[in-house]
C-alpha cells in the first residue's frame, strides 16, 4: 500500500526536493533501489547529480536493503566535507 515516507534531504537534494524533510508517496515496504528510482522519477533533476546514496537509520544502505515504516531515511548526494 502507498504510504507517505518521511525523507531527510541535504545539500543539493534539499534544494531539489524543496525542503530538508519531505513527505514522499511510495509503496511500502520498499528497497533502497526502488526509492532512488521513485525519487528520480518524481524529481528529474536528480539525473544530473553525480551520485545519490541512501542512508537508513544513519547507515549507508545498498540496493536491495528493505526500508520499513518508521525507518529514518535520508538522501545523501555527493559529500564534500573537510
Amino acid at each position: 500500500m502507498t504510504t507517505k515516507l518521511k525523507i531527510l534531504a541535504f545539500g543539493i537534494a534539499r534544494d531539489i526536493m524543496g525542503g530538508s524533510s519531505v513527505q514522499f508517496n511510495i509503496e511500502m515496504p520498499t528497497t533502497t533501489s526502488k526509492l532512488k528510482k521513485a525519487l528520480i522519477d518524481q524529481f528529474p533533476e536528480f539525473i544530473d547529480v553525480r551520485s545519490l546514496a541512501v542512508a537508513v537509520n544513519n547507515e549507508y544502505s545498498s540496493g536491495s536493503d528493505v526500508i520499513l515504516d518508521g525507518d529514518e531515511v535520508a538522501i545523501i548526494p555527493p559529500v564534500s566535507g573537510g
Binding site: 531527510l8 541535504f10 545539500g11 543539493i12 534539499r14 534544494d15 544530473d48 547529480v49 553525480r50 542512508a55 544513519n58 547507515e59 549507508y60 535520508a74 545523501i76 548526494p77 555527493p78 559529500v79 564534500s80 566535507g81 573537510g82
Partner: protein, 142 residues
C-alpha cells in the same frame, strides 16, 4: 573502551587546534600529526566569498567515529580528535581539524592523512561555495 581515545565533534563555532591538542596529548606519546583545513579564497579561477557547511549530524558523527575507531585498530596511535564545523565560514576560517597522537611519527602522519581522505569520502557533510555571482554545492555535479 576505545571510545575514550576518540573525540568527535560537529560545532557551529570556531574550531581550535589547541582544544584538539588538549585531548590528544599524552605523556607516553612522542608525536602529534595535525591536519587543519582552511577556507580558500578561490576554486579554480573563481573567487570564493564564503562557504557554508551542512551536516546530517547524527550520521556524520557515527561515520567519523567509524573512521577514528578503524584508525585505532590499524595504526599504532593513541588518540584521535576530529572536529568539523558547520554553518557559514569566511576565508581562512577552519572547517576541519584532525589531530592524532602516537608513540612515533610515521603512524601519526599515516593515520592523520587517512582520516581526512576517508572523511572526504564517507562523512555526510556538504559544502556550498559562494561566489560574487552565485553559489554551488561542491561535487554535486559531474
Amino acid at each position: 573502551m576505545d571510545k575514550r581515545r576518540i573525540d568527535i565533534q560537529i560545532l557551529d563555532t570556531s574550531l581550535s587546534v589547541e582544544r584538539c591538542r588538549e585531548f590528544i596529548t599524552r605523556s607516553d606519546c612522542g608525536a602529534e600529526a595535525i591536519f587543519v583545513g582552511t577556507v580558500r579564497d578561490h576554486t579554480k579561477d573563481r573567487r570564493v566569498t564564503k562557504l557554508e557547511f551542512e551536516a546530517y549530524t547524527t550520521m556524520a558523527i557515527l561515520e567519523m567515529e567509524k573512521i577514528a575507531l578503524r584508525l585505532l585498530d590499524h595504526h599504532n596511535i593513541h588518540k584521535i580528535a576530529i572536529h568539523h564545523r558547520i554553518g557559514i565560514l569566511r576565508i581562512s576560517e577552519i572547517p576541519v581539524i584532525i589531530a592524532v597522537s602516537a608513540p612515533h611519527r610515521k603512524a601519526a602522519f599515516a593515520a592523520c592523512e587517512e582520516a581526512i581522505d576517508t572523511l572526504k569520502e564517507t562523512v555526510p557533510i556538504w559544502k556550498k561555495e559562494f561566489f560574487e555571482d552565485g553559489s554551488t554545492w561542491v561535487a554535486a555535479h559531474p
